[in-house]
Each structure stands twice: as C-alpha cells, then as structure tokens.
Subunit: 253 residues, 8 copies
C-alpha cells in the first residue's frame, strides 16, 4: 500500500487521477494516520499474532479461521476451545497441541522463550485459568515459570518459592474465593503483578465478584486486575511487559 | 421470685388464690422456662454486664442509663460514644476512662485479665475498630495482646509477631480495603479467628463490602465474620471464647 | 527434622558443614519460625487432621489423596462428596461411612466425643448444611446435639428445646430464607453462636444473600457468620471452640 | 357533576347540545367509568382524607395546601415535616399537633378510634418510624396499641406482650438491622402483619436493604412489606385493614 | 389439655401432685401463654389449615404428610407441587385436584366462598403465580375474582374491568418485568393491594428484582409487597384480610 | 478548509508542495473522512450548538467558555448551573435567562419552535428534571408541551391530558420512585417515548436505580431510557427526533 | 363502532334509548377518549401490526394467534421463536421465513422499505441481537443497513463504514462486554442512537449489566438505551423514528 | 546484619553462642529467606522510595513521617494531601511542591526522566486523577506525556494524538462515566494499558462502578484495571513497566 506521500507524488506526476487518489485516501484513512492497520496486519502492529476466541464459533467458521491464520502466521493460539472443537482442528492438523485443562489449542512452533513471567495460582481448582495465562504467555514468546497451589491459607508454600517469583519480570496471580494471593505477592516483589480473579468458590463468592473486589482494593503497590477467569488477558499483558523488559523500549531513541 | 414449684406449693397450701397464682405464672412465663430472665439479670444469664450503645441516645437518657448500670454492676462499657457524650458522663463521674480513637467509655475497675486474646489490625487506619474490640474484650475480662499494623502487603511485619498471635485463645483480625489479613492469620493459628471488615478504603471497597466478602469467602479454616466496623461484636465474641478456654465448659458435668 | 538449635549445635561440633546447614535452614524456613509446618504436619499444628474437599477433584486424584491421608492419620473426612465419588472410595474401603444428605464421607473411628456443640437448623430444607456441620464437628472430636426444624415462624418449637441449646459450649445456627434463627438463638444463650446462611429460598433470597445479610447484621451479641452453605466451616470452628472449653487454653501457663 | 345518564337525558330533551354534551363526556371520562374522581374527592373515593408529604415542599406551597385541606376536610396529616415547616403551620394554626420524633403534624380532631392496630418496633432507634405508622393509623381512625422495644435479641420482652399483639386486627412490625422481628411476630398471630424495614444499622445493613430482604423472605405466613422507613405506608395500610374488620366488606351485599 | 387455671384447681384439690403439675406446666409452656399451640393445632390458632410446600420433599414423606393432614383437617393444599408429586398423591387419593399451571394440589371440599378477593395479573406469562394466589385464597375460604392479562401497556384492558376490582375487599396484583400494575391498581381502589413481583422478564429484570423494587417504591397508598413469585403468600394474606372484612374483628368486644 | 479533492488538485497543479499537502491531510484526517469535524464545527455537524455542562467548572473558565460560544453561535445553553455560576454570567450578560429549578441558563434568542415534544412528569418533585428536558428541547428548536404531575397513582390526571401527549412527535416521561409513568404512556402513544428516571424517592429507590430498572424493563413498545436525572439527554434526543419529523430525513434523496 | 357524537345524535333523535346509550358509552370508554382502541385495532393506533412474543407460549395457542393475526393483518412477526415453534408454524404456512440466528419468524410480504436505519454490532457474538433488531425494523417498513463486527477494539473497522452510518435516520448500536460501541458511534452522528446491551461476555459482565451501565452513562449526546438483548425493542423504536423522518410529523398542522 | 552463613561461621568459630545465634535467626527470619527486608529498606527492595498516603493522618504524625523519609531518601511523595496538610509541610520545608488538583505533594529533586509513559484522560473532570498518576510516575523516574480531554464522544481529539500515545512504553487511561476510553486506546497501541476508572458521573455511574465494569470487561487486549480514582496505583505500575523497558530485565542473566 502506498503512503500518503507516495500517492501525492503520483498525483503530482500525473500517474494517478484525482478521483482515484481521493478514493484511495478515503478507503484507507488509517494508513494515513500511521497507527491503525487492517486486521491481517495486526501481527505487525502489536507484534503478536491474532488469537482465536473459540467459544460460540460455529464448526465451519472455526476451522476456516484457524487454517487461514495458520497459513499466514505459521502458528495459532485458540482459547476457550471445547474438546469437540479441538477434535475438528486436529482432524485437519494432527500436529495440534490441545490442553483440556486450560481449553487452549496451539498450532505451530513456539518462538524462543525469553525473559521470565511467573504464573502463581492459589489452589488446584484455579489451574484452568493459570494454565490459560501460562500457555498464552508462552505462545507470545515469554519464558514461563509455574508456581501453583500457593494459596495464602498455607503461607509457607508461597514463601518457599519466592525466589522464583521475585526473579520474574512480571507476575500473574490467579485466585478465586477470597483472592488474597495477589496482595501478598505484590507486597513481596518489585515488578508488576497482574491479578486474575477466578469464579472458583461458592455462596458469597458470587462467581468471582468477591475475588475481583479483593484484588481491585489491594493495598499493595504495583498491582492491576483483569476480568474474572481472564487468564488469556493476563498472559497477554504479561507477555507485553516481559517483551518490554527483554527488548527495551521499542520506540525510544 | 417464686419458682413454679413454690407457687404450686402455696396454691396447694391455700396461701395463694388460683387467680393470683395463674396471673403470676402468666406474667413471668420465662422464669418457668428456665432460660430467659428480665434484662436486669442479663449479667447473670450471660455472665457479662450489659453494654451501652451510645450512638443516637439523647443526653438525659444516656446519663441516666449509665448511672443506673454503674450502680448495679459497678462498671459500665459504652460504645460509639461521642466526645460530647463522654463529657456528659465525665461531669457526673470524673473517673470515666474515655478513648477517643475507639470512641469507648469505661467506668469502674476492670476484672482480672485472664486467658489471652490477640487483636491484629492491618493498618493504622483500622485502629479505631481494633481498639473497640480490644477494650471490649478487656472490659469483659480477657487479657488482650495488641498486634497492630501488620497488613499483608508487608508480610514480614505479621510474621515477626506470630508467636504472640499463635499463643492466643482467640484472634481478632481487623482489616479494611481488601481484607486479606484474616485469611493469612487463620492459616497460621490453631484457634478461632474472628474477622472484622472495616469501612477503610475508597472506590470499589464500597464502604467495607469488599473486605466483608473477602473474609466471608476465606479458604482458611476456623474463621468467621462480624459486621463491618463491628469491633465491639468481635471483642465480645472473643471474650466469650476466651472465657470458655479459661474456665472450661460452664455446664458440662 | 532438626530444630534451629540442633542444627547450630551440629555446626558448632563440626558435624555439619556451613553450606549444608544454611541449606537446611533456608529449605525449611518455617521450622525456624516455630509456627508453620509442612502440610503433612498440619494435624500437629492445628490439632485437627486435614479434610478433603471432594468437589471437582478427579477420580484418581481423590482416591489417592483419601488413601494417603487414611494411612497417615487413621481417619479421613471428605466434604462435598458426590455419590459417584463415595462409590469410588467405598470400592477401596468398604468401611466408608457416606451420608448422602450432607454429602460427607468418613473413614476411620471417631475420637471420643467431648464437650457439647449444638447444631440448630430452621427447616428440613436446611438439613444438608446442618448435617455437614454436625458430622464435621463430630469428626473433630465434639459431642454434637442436633436441634432441627426450629425455625422462628413456629417459635415454640425452638423454645421447647432451649435447655439443650443453652448447655452447649457453642451453638451453630443454620437457616436460609430470612435467616432470623441465629439472632433469636444468640439472644438466649451465653456462649458463642456461629451462624450459617443457606441458599434455601427463592426470589429475593438471592441464593442465600438475604440470610447472610440478616445474620451479619444481627443485633444480638456473641454471633459471627460463615459463608453461605459452609456447614463444614461452622462445624470446624465449633469444634475449635469446644476444644478450648474442654481442654482449656492450650498455651497458657 | 352530571352522570352519563343525566347528560343523555338532557341531550334527549334538547337541553344540551351535542357538542357540549360530547365535550362534557370527554372532559370527565372517569365520572363515566364510576371509579375515579378528581383529587378533591379522594376522601370520598378512598374514605381517607388526603395526606401531605411535606419533604421538599416550599414554604408558601406547604402552608397553602395545608390550609386548603384543613378547610375542606376539617383535618390534615403532614408527614416528613421538618421543625421549620411545623413552625410555619403553627404560626397559622396554633392548635397544630407536631411530633418531632415521627416528624408528623396533625390538625383537627381525630375521628373516633375503632378496631385495633398493634405497632411493634424492635429498638428505640426505630421509634421514629413506628410513631409515623402509629400516628398515621390513628389519624385514619384506628385504635392503636404501641408495643415498643421488643427486638428478638431479648425474646421475653416480645413474648410478655403477645396478648396485646394477638388481639389486634393488624400488626405493624418495624425493625432495622437484621429485621427479624416481623417473622417472629407473624409466626405468633392470626391476622396480617405489615413489615417495615428501617434504615437503622451500619455496615452491611446497607441503609435498610438487609432488613428489607429479611422481611421479604420471611418464612412465616401472612406477612407483607413496605419500603424502608415507610411508616406512613404501613399505618395507612393497617388502617385500611382495620376498617375492613370494623365495618365489614364495604361493597358486599 | 387443661388450662393453667384447671391445673391449679386440681393442685389445690389435691388431685394433682406438685411435680406432676409443674411438669405439665413446663412441658406445655405456650398453652399457658395463650398464644402458641402445637402445630397440629395451627388450624385452631390461625383459623387456616396447614399448607404443604411440596418442593424438595421426598416422595414417601410427602404422601405421608398429605395423608395425615387430609385425615385430620379433611382437606389439604399443596404448593409448588411437581407433576410427579401430584401423580403420587392421585394414586392414593383419586379425588385430588391438581393444577399444573399453578402447581397446586387440592384435596377435600372447599369451604363456602365468602367476601371477595380480586386477583389481577399483567400478562399471560404471570398466570402461574396469579393462579397460585387464586387457588390459595379460594382454599382458605375467599370468593375469588380473576382479572387476568391487564398489564399497563394496554391500559384500557385494566380500566374496562375496574368495577370488578374496586368491589373486592383486597386486591392481589401480580406482575413481572417492570411491575407497574400494582401502582396503577392501588391508585384506583380503596382497599388494600398486595403486590407480587414475578420472575418473568429477561436482561435487567434480574429474575424479578426489578419488579420487586418497582412495587416496594410505589407512590400509591395502600400497597405492600411479598417475595418474588410468592403467589401463595399473597393468596394467604388476601384471605386473612378478606376474612376480617367478612366476619369483622375476631377479638374485639 | 480544503477538501481532499481540492488539495489533490492543487498538488497536481503544483500550487501545493507534497510535504505541505501531506501535513494538511494528516493534521485534519477527519475532514478527509467526511464525518468528523473540529469541535468549533460541532454545530455544523450535529445541527445543534454545543452545550455547556457547568457543574465543576471553575469561575473563570466557565465565563470564558460561555462568552466564546455566545460570540460564535449567538446563543448558549448551560446545564447543571449553580446560582453562583448564573450570577457570574449575568454580571457579564444581563440578558441571561436563568431557571433555578432546572438549573439551566440560556443566552440568546430561541430559534423558531417547530414540531411538538411532550414532556410529562410524575410528581412535582420531578420538576427539576422535566424542566431541564423542556428547556433543552426548546433551546434546540422544539415546540414543547408540558404535562406535569400526572403520576400513575392518580391515573385520571394522566388520561385527561392524553390528547396533548398523543399529538407529540416524541414524549419524554420523567419519574422517580417506581417510575411506572413511562410504561403507561408508551402504551398509549404511537411515537417514541424517552424515559428519564429521577433520584426522587427514598429507601429502596436506591437514588433512582429502582426507576431506572422499571423503565428499562418496560413491557411497552417504543420506549428507551437515559441516565438517572439526565433531563438534558432526554431533551436533546427528543429534539433530534422532533427535527427528523419536522424536516424529514436529512440525507435521503 | 359509533363515536360519542353519533351516539348522542341517535339519542337526540330517539333512535337510541338512554340506557342503551349509556351502556355503549361505558362499555367502550376509550373510544370516547379518542386515544385507546381494542387490541385488534392496535395496528390502526400505532401504525404497526401486533408482534408475537413466542417464548413460553404453548403450541396450540401460538399457532392460533399467528393464524389469526396473519388473516387479519396479512403479515406477522414472531420474536424469540424456537426452532420447534417455527416448525409448527411452517407446517401450517410453508411460506414462513424463519431465521434461527435472530430466532424471528416472518409471514407475509414486507412493506416497501423506506428511509434508513443502520444496525451496528460490535462482534459476531452479538449478531443474534442485531439481526432481531434488523428484521424487526424491516418488518415495520424501514430500509435497513447492516454494519456488523465493528467493535471499538479495532476502531478502523468502524471508521471505514461511517458514511453508511451517518446517513441513517437512526442508528442501533448493539454490543456486549464493555459496550463502548454506542458512545463512539453517538459521538460521530447527528441522528438518534439506540443502544442495546447484550449478555455477551463473562465474569464481571454480569450477563449484560456492565454493557447496560456503560451505555446508560454515555457521555455522548443523543443516545438512549433498551433492555439487555432487547433487539426487538430497538428495532421497533428505530422504525418509529425512521417513520417520523420519512412521513414527517403525523399530527402537526 | 549478618547473613545466615556468617552467623553459622561465627557459631562454628565459637564467636557466637548457640542461643544467641538461634535468637538472631528467629528474630530476622526474612533475612534468611532473602526476599523480604525491613520497611526502611523498601527503597532497596522495590527500587522506589516509600510514598505517604496523607489522608486521615494526624498533623504531627504526618510532618514527622515526611521529615524522616525526606532525610533518608532525599525526596518524598505525598498523595491525597489536603491543602491544610500541604501548608503544614510547607511551613517546615518551603521548597515543597504542592499541586491542589491532584492533591499531591513532592519534596526533593526528581530523578532523571527516562522512557515514556502516556497519561490520557477522557474529560477535564478526570484531571485530578490523571495528574495523580502523572506526578506519581514522574516522581518514580518516568518521562510523562500528558494527553488530556480525549474522550471517545469526540473521537478525532484522541486520534489526532495517537502518535504520542503509541510511542509510550505504557499508557494510563483515566475515565469516568462510561469509561470507554481505555478500550479504544488499547485497540490502537502495542504496549500495556492501565485503566483507571474515576468516580466522575452521576446517576447510574454509581460513583465509578460503571466505569470500573466497562474497563474490566474490555474486549481489547493488553489492558488491566486499578481501583476507582487510584491514579497513584496506575502511576506506580506505569513507572514499574517503564523501568523494565528502560533498564531491561533486572534479574535476567
């Protein structure tokens, strides 16, 4: 695609008619602005390939989109992918790596793992969400350290693994029920903590609302929160932060 | 007051008319039932003297009720007592001990402190509530250990005082914001933990709702919760549990 | 495991190298602190054996953990255990005692029942939760008195059983719908009341929220609340309080 | 005003033009329907005089409307009336009866008190609302029995006054905090109970929401609920029910 | 059972020993108090026979309790009764009248219908709840007028039936979604209106919460509210009010 | 400002350098897109002049912005304007028209009133909001018909004014408390109804939440809702709809 | 049916008796009022034929009502229609047009499409709701422009289609999750925007509550909101506004 | 302080007694663990000096703590600082830089600004919060780019400044009302976005809850949320992320 300057040059040179040039400028306004690109260029813009949210996608549509992205990007991550959907993709691509716990599907070779992201979770019941975060971060190029089953009701389990946690560029803390893990972790590390509330719990946990409120009210510094069960979002964000740490500011001079 | 048996004896003996006896039985039904007593006997029933909730009480009424209870019980605890109300009582009883932080007022000599109740709070902003619990428990006979400013965002502060906490018969954990202190404490002790959410915080703390939900969803064992800012309730309950530990089962044979 | 002092003695005596000693101290930091122990020693720390929360555990994992705890502790309590899970355990241990109402599973001989815990519930619909509390407390060594179907809409049912209730070291009050039972009971006894809201109800009961709010706002003294449907939590706490009453303060001199 | 039939008669007789008659019928459609009347006839329609909700009304408007209603109906009830507003009315009508607790203002002689309405409240803090109900019911012709300070945390206080309560045609139960009074009362009487939650409480009482939920979820029969602090609404409804009991069905043959 | 006076007479006469008399008085305390009776006498106390809430009751228990009440009272009302449960009862009592819409089951001959209760509902989707109210009120002796499908979005439907509504002693207004029916009706009648929110709706109706709030905030006089979907409660209350209108004050002199 | 085509023409003609042209295109990207304009052209884009939300604006800033808009557009509407702020503006422009009820301030001559917008409100307490809507719609060119104090609890008041309401192009229905007015109106008219909940009420009105839910759940067709107390938003939207009715589709051929 | 005037004429002429005339006037009160008509005339009153909400309607009733409306109006729209229900209708009318995505069923020939309504939706998951709006608006006579999958997270998708959106008389913006689409659209167009929150999302979307709140709080002008998932309501309202734009004010002189 | 190894060496050498060594190890357990340090070393651990939350701190305490930190760290940041508190500090340190908008107080020379953090806010009303974030990030060493008043209702304002935004290592997006800014920004940048809801708004904004829900449900990637009005938290987190970008992974090899 031509830049604004190139179009203008061609207009000046008479190689491009006024109407044609105006049409190009109006059809692709964001090329002019220099920050937005068509979706098939998302990988260029964000540095990360597009991810497929499988839930609710019809069979034919899902396999088509997976195939298309696989061809273009050489690898694909699918989240919230059911066993049935995984089978569909496997039929087409036997090399598919499907994890039923996190319900994530990965095609293609992982990039080299760099930096370090620690994924902590409070209990084994939160594993589905922690693994979604872990596999997402790994797919996006981060080296991942898993620190599972370290809920605050048995504090020594967490403390005995602090060295692994403090050495990460970014920590993801996954917890349901009262969600206290994130505050405790954030009080012990110097890098950002991304808190993920899960729906794990019952009664007044209100399907994750309690954990969400706990985390959003944390008195610790350096903590922020994503949606309930949004392991993907946390993994994505962790990979962004980790990338900054690894390669430094992308646009600084 | 006569027991049912005594009334019946007197009826049988002709010393009491049928109507008179029936009236007595009906006027005092709960003496018959053996478990409820008029309020001036509450101290006998619960073993604790009545406490005055000062908020909203008019001046004349407040001083009257304080005076009456002081005369009968020899000591009085007033909670949610304003500085103005404290001045009123002090005018009548210069020996009044008023604490503006917890807004509690105490008259009379404390009973001998027995057992051990630990009162923990997360931050200095929660002190008003922790002190209400502490002074209530002390008023009701418990030896109190204060462990303040031990919020989980600086975990070592809490851990360095665990010996004091684990040796208590009962622990009160006071916290606002995300309220994670209670879970962490309950995971480290063997005796009951009473969690008190405070209204301390802002934004999505919703005036203590966040801390309340955190505590009620705790994944630790041996923890229960009282109302937001209810330091009095926690102190009362702690004193009950401490009393059981000190004197043993009151009614077991 | 050696204590800190023992390690130091051996270092002094040259029986242990510096590095080896430092490693031991760092690997087992909580032994040093004197309050936290590895999980397999939880029974030593809290005096109560670990309990298995069965819900969501996979078949193989569940049977493995039950077997392991059974071997170590000689007895096991499983909560939120489905009929299918119970069948699995029974296949391995025919002596399994499974109660489908409370969905609790017990293996091994109960300890001698001591003290007295009263479990009250408002209606027959709350029985599942009351029984979870009752069987938990019994498993942890408490003598349990069941006082069921004593909701406040038929007050005489409750009043006629007050003698049993008032003689307990601790009362658990289980109720759904408007949850008023806890307040009424707490107004009549001298020992602690643990209130358990249940999800029983419909419409504006909001799956137990109404009962939870009722209980947390109780105007009676000596009452605290656990999560909706958390019969286990109430039973555990009641057993803790009962134990204090029976054996006295564990750490007082 | 003419009835439909009278208008038709006059049309037939030529005494009324078609257009004029059509206009009258259209301007007063509800006279035709026989159930709705202009507001100054509300007293005829409902049998109760209109009541003035004073809050937010400007001084001049308030005195004007009070004067107008006083002239027409011979008596006036004003609710949520501030001391300042009461002074304004008193300046014009020295015979004004203003009660600062319930913030109600009454002008004119009360009708003969008939039947019996019992107004119960849980604590002295709920008095403002109970008195609003009591004075409203009395203004509307009901004999009122006040049964105050009978909260369920001291059950004997309530039970000792049941005879007064059970003999009423309708019971109003006013309570804040956990609001359990209504359920207990409804379980003991045979006539309707109107429950009024108050905003009294703190923390998780959420300004009366807790008491409202308690009451709306009551497991007792014969209970219904009005808005938080709506003593007027409860008194009005109680007077309606009491009137039905006193005079019988107004429209049955 | 003897009254207190009769027992005392016998004691005086020597026909009853002191211990025996005391035992009788203590075993039956509520006979003494004159307001509470054992459950099998509920019909005497409230004037209405006990009703069976079928939901969740086990088969054997349900048929047993229905049979027992049928024998004693000659008639039975069961609410929230499933088709399966109805079949069970029909097998034992072929004369069972089961209505699948309201899920109510009735055994025995209805009492003579007296007075007049109007049951209004907004849409056909609310019928299940309106019929529960209607059949309950009829079972308890009220003549019932059904005014269905009169939602406020088509106001003329309601207005064309006002004569039936205004002639009732009590009106039940059943509505889901925005629940505006109750306010409109209460503005047009002189007798009490009982509002029943239903769970009918979607989205922000929040399963009936919206209708509940609408009704509880009604600006009309003479309106009160029961729980979401509580047609039984409304029918019961309507029958109480209707009975007062028919027979007058039960206890007035 | 030049259009894209004009810029290209000048580039082609050599009248504009490439860099200069590219800069113009990039600085004003939305001129290219043909739908967005700089703010000072908002009046051109939307056909309505910009409105000043006064609340929270500092004195100097407020007077400056009012003056600037007055000069450019010849007229100004200020909303949520305090008396103090109005005085400031009046000092500069004595011709200011300030209405303390709606807290709106208007400068300049109104445009010719066209079409017809009906503004209804339920009670006099809602007037502040209804007037904000009315004055906004009038400022934006709509003829406004005020139909006030027509709450559904006195239905005849509303019905007697239906002719005025049905003849409007758009109806704004303003109500607090239970907010039923909107549904009733929408059931009677053929044109759109904009519902505005107000914060008027107490207790469970939750500052307008109840009315908002009522309106959003309306079972009537042709109704939509704006924020609580957002009279401005409703007036703006009504003026948009009215304008469409008056001038027809702006862009149809 | 005769008008009021015709009835009066006949009364005057002696052709109609007084009683008969009065009966007619009372039976049809709303003919007199000139704004309300029996339901089978709804099409005349609102200009739109009645629509069938299929959900929950029983088979026989549904087919009967569809047939009846088809015969009278020549066309029928059914919403929330299940596949099973669609099959029933197809069996009777093979020409039935059923769309399983929007769950709408249409019988009869569409009216000529006039004006222009743009339906935007944020993601493909919101399609069910957008299509319900689109098909409803089309059924009611509006020309519909679909602008799908233009969520704000990929802003260029929306901006590239602004020309289609800005040329519409009314825009429907459908979005779940955070629902930001409506604000962005409303900031770019001059005509009304109707926002429809969907239940699409998870966790703290609370089944559409989040999107509803986003939309109701929009800082853009000219936006109003319907219930969660209420595509029908939005389509209906859009058709009303579009009709006003096409035909101008229906009642202006 | 000695390390574990040094202590052991001294024990071995006999320079330290066993008891003394054990005491040291137990008093300083976290030195052993290698990750937690006393608070006065927080600056060392997190790389950022401690910050003073001024709200609620008493005058004497505030000035003391500011002085102490100033002496130790050479600079101090105080947040939520009232004008009165600022005056107190200024009296002691005239060089105090106090900003009344953000209510932040800064003492000491800022570190060299590195990297780039962009702070966006939707409206001028959100400035207080954006400035708190900006001044916090700057205090902690980040170069800050302010992009204010770029709410989505006037999209071109945001788009015209995208170049500044996309070049930042981290973007903070501050918005009240519907809070849509964060989603739009996150869809346009490649680095992390920290969303800060503010309490700005009215009605159904529920003091920031609406904006919080919008942000937590964002469909854009790379976004996380802090508490309502928590500008400090966002600034802190942004500085952490920016530091990682500037200096790279702190602990990678």
């Amino acid at each position: 695609m031509m830049t604004t300057e190139e179009i203008l040059e061609q207009v000046k040179a008479g190689a491009l008619g006024i109407d044609e040039a105006a049409g190009m400028l109006k059809q692709q306004p964001f090329e002019d602005l220099g920050f937005a690109k068509p979706d098939y260029q998302r990988s260029l813009r964000t540095g990360f390939p597009e991810v497929v949210y499988c839930e609710g996608k019809e069979d034919a549509f899902l396999t088509a989109i997976v195939q298309k992205l696989y061809e273009k990007n050489g690898r694909v991550l699918g989240t919230r992918c059911s066993a049935h959907q995984a089978d569909l993709v496997k039929a087409a691509f036997p090399e598919t790596d499907y994890d039923p716990v996190s319900r994530t599907l990965i095609l293609g070779t992982a990039p080299e793992a760099t930096g370090n992201v620690a994924i902590c979770c409070a209990g084994t019941a939160d594993l589905y969400c922690a693994e979604e975060a872990a596999r997402t971060a790994a797919f996006l190029g981060a080296k991942v350290t898993r620190v599972y089953d370290v809920g605050v009701a048995g504090l020594h389990r967490l403390l005995s693994r602090m060295e692994e946690i403090t050495s990460a560029n970014c920590v993801v803390a996954v917890a349901g029920m009262e969600g206290a893990l994130a505050s405790v972790v954030a009080g012990l590390v110097e890098n950002p903590v991304i808190a993920v509330p899960t729906h794990v719990g019952y009664g007044a946990s209100f399907h994750g609302l309690s954990a969400l409120l706990t985390m959003i009210n944390s008195c610790a510094n350096g903590i922020s929160v994503v949606n309930i069960d949004n392991g993907f979002g946390a993994g994505y964000l962790a990979a962004q932060i980790n990338r900054l740490a690894v390669r430094g500011s992308s646009k600084s001079t």
